[in-house]
Amino acid sequence: MTAGDFEHRNEARWAEYERLIGLMERGKAGAEAEQLPRLFRELSLDLSLAESRMYGASVTERLNELVIRGYELIYRTRRGTWENAVSFVAVKFPQAVRREWRLFWLCNGVFWLPFFAMMLSAEHDIRWIQAVLGADGMAGMEQMYGGREEQLSHLRSEYGSNFMMFCFYIYNNVAIDFRIFAGGMAAGVGTLFFLLFNGLHIGAAAGYANHACNPESFWSFVAGHSSFELLGMVVSGMAGMRLGLAILRPGRLPRVRALTEAGRQALPLIYGAALMTTLAAVVEGFWSAQGIPSDWKYLAGIFGWVVHITYFLLAGRRSGHAA
């Protein structure tokens, strides 16, 4: 049989297949979609025949393309459902955080040690804080938290400013999470740098507010969203370190395989971090700067931390170890 005979004999079948995948690619196929697996197998066989008999490039290229198109239709993954989203929040995310408990403590350490070091330096040697914040940073802190009473709620009295700040926190803070994650690709150095930098800077700001500004106006503002935002940052650090460790210590896998594997494991962490930071932006935009008595705000802040600790400790325990 020559290439021409082969093409001629199978032409009708190939045309039928091509018409069907054309329809399916546009999402228009009905019951005839059932034919796809059979036609696909037949076409696969044709391709391997054409390859081994060397019928030439024009036939094999055409079949190769048709097979690829069918393959993509058959192996298309199903998109997420609401059920997946619920099970992610209730089970998969806290399980993923617990599975990486070593990274959890590592990233917490890298963030909180410099944080508390800066807080302490406010009592002993303020020059550390001055060096971190700089003149502009200190002026900004004083402008926001310097007065006797709360100033932020006055700044937010203009129409739409809450929404604007919410959007700003999404734009800024969620992007920081993503960068912390991406920094893991530089063998973890980027992740550690961002965590350390944020620890130093946030610690310095808190220390300075305590020392030179009105502490109540600062703490009552940050209390509400602190748990979401800071833990979200730590969790995105865990995702980044998962990547970084795959490069540094791939174990028995080749480095690229280890990296791909780590990318998969880091996913629930980065999704969760983005979710937590988005929630933080909601709280920070619409609650933290409202004119609510400070005691209520502190209470909300404590409540947030308790919820997070219980959530990460207990949620999804009963559901076994889902992969």
């Binding site: 060397m54 490039a57 993509e72 998109r79 129409y159 969620v174 992007a175 990318g263 980065i270």
Partner: protein
């Protein structure tokens, strides 16, 4: 002898169906073009949207308008490529314009998670200072032109439709001669391809290429070409008779 280095960008992937499909990997130049188109589209959307929101700002308030711009900026920066690549076509508008798509290294469509990983890591690939030096280095250092994000996600960028090579009918065979020694599959394929593509080349180029196989044909120059052609003809004829 070690397997010789491949010259083309085709990668064979074996499917569960027991066949091999060949994916043609896309190089950095085309992908840079796709990126430039996407960059323009994103800029255009932000500019047009920004103007519209600025006018709407008169009605909805400047703060709300400003917030919407920040949100749009965030979405365009981080989620634009994720949205399109995780979608049905597996390609951003820029990639589609350049005829590219993103698939798993196994050839199947990518998942949402893979789109997230490969695009969030763009931040590192773009370093230093958005010059994409890291990504380019990684592309050139890997067999499948993968940037760092591709490596972590296990994805590759391929030609969506393999462009048809120009077909010129090869010179008609004169005689069929069996090759003097048994040939491996790859050697047979090389002979068949030589015959197929011979129509594209000048006589001098044909002879130049045929000289590489002088050990097989036992001759150089035009005579070598003729002998190789005859062997290719014999092989394909013979195969066809099976």
């Amino acid at each position: 002898m070690a397997e010789p280095e491949k010259l083309d960008t085709l990668q064979a992937v074996e499917l569960a169906e027991g066949i091999e499909i060949r994916l043609r990997m896309a190089g950095p130049m085309l992908r840079a073009g796709a990126y430039a188109i996407d960059f323009l589209i994103r800029g255009l959307v932000l500019a047009v949207g920004g103007t519209a929101v600025a006018f709407a700002g008169i009605a909805i308030g400047g703060n709300v308008a400003g917030g919407m711009m920040l949100l749009a900026w965030f979405l365009m920066d981080w989620l634009y490529p994720v949205f399109f690549e995780a979608g049905k076509r597996g390609a951003t508008p820029g990639k589609r314009a350049m005829g590219l798509r993103v698939v798993q290294a196994t050839g199947s469509p990518i998942t949402l998670g893979q789109a997230v990983v490969r695009n969030f890591l763009r931040f590192i690939d773009g370093m230093p200072f958005f010059t994409y030096c890291f990504g380019l280095t990684s592309c050139l250092a890997t067999r499948r032109f993968q940037r760092l994000g591709d490596l972590a996600a296990g994805t590759v960028v391929i030609y969506d439709r393999i462009p048809k090579p120009p077909m010129v009918s090869p010179p008609p065979p004169i005689v069929a001669v069996p090759p003097p020694v048994g040939l491996t599959v790859n050697e047979t394929r090389a002979l068949a391809l030589f015959r197929e593509r011979a129509g594209l080349w000048s006589d001098g180029r044909r002879a130049e290429i045929a000289d590489q196989a002088a050990a097989l044909s036992g001759a150089t120059g035009a005579e070598g070409v003729n002998r190789l052609m005859a062997m290719a003809h014999w092989l394909q004829q013979k195969r066809g008779g099976l």
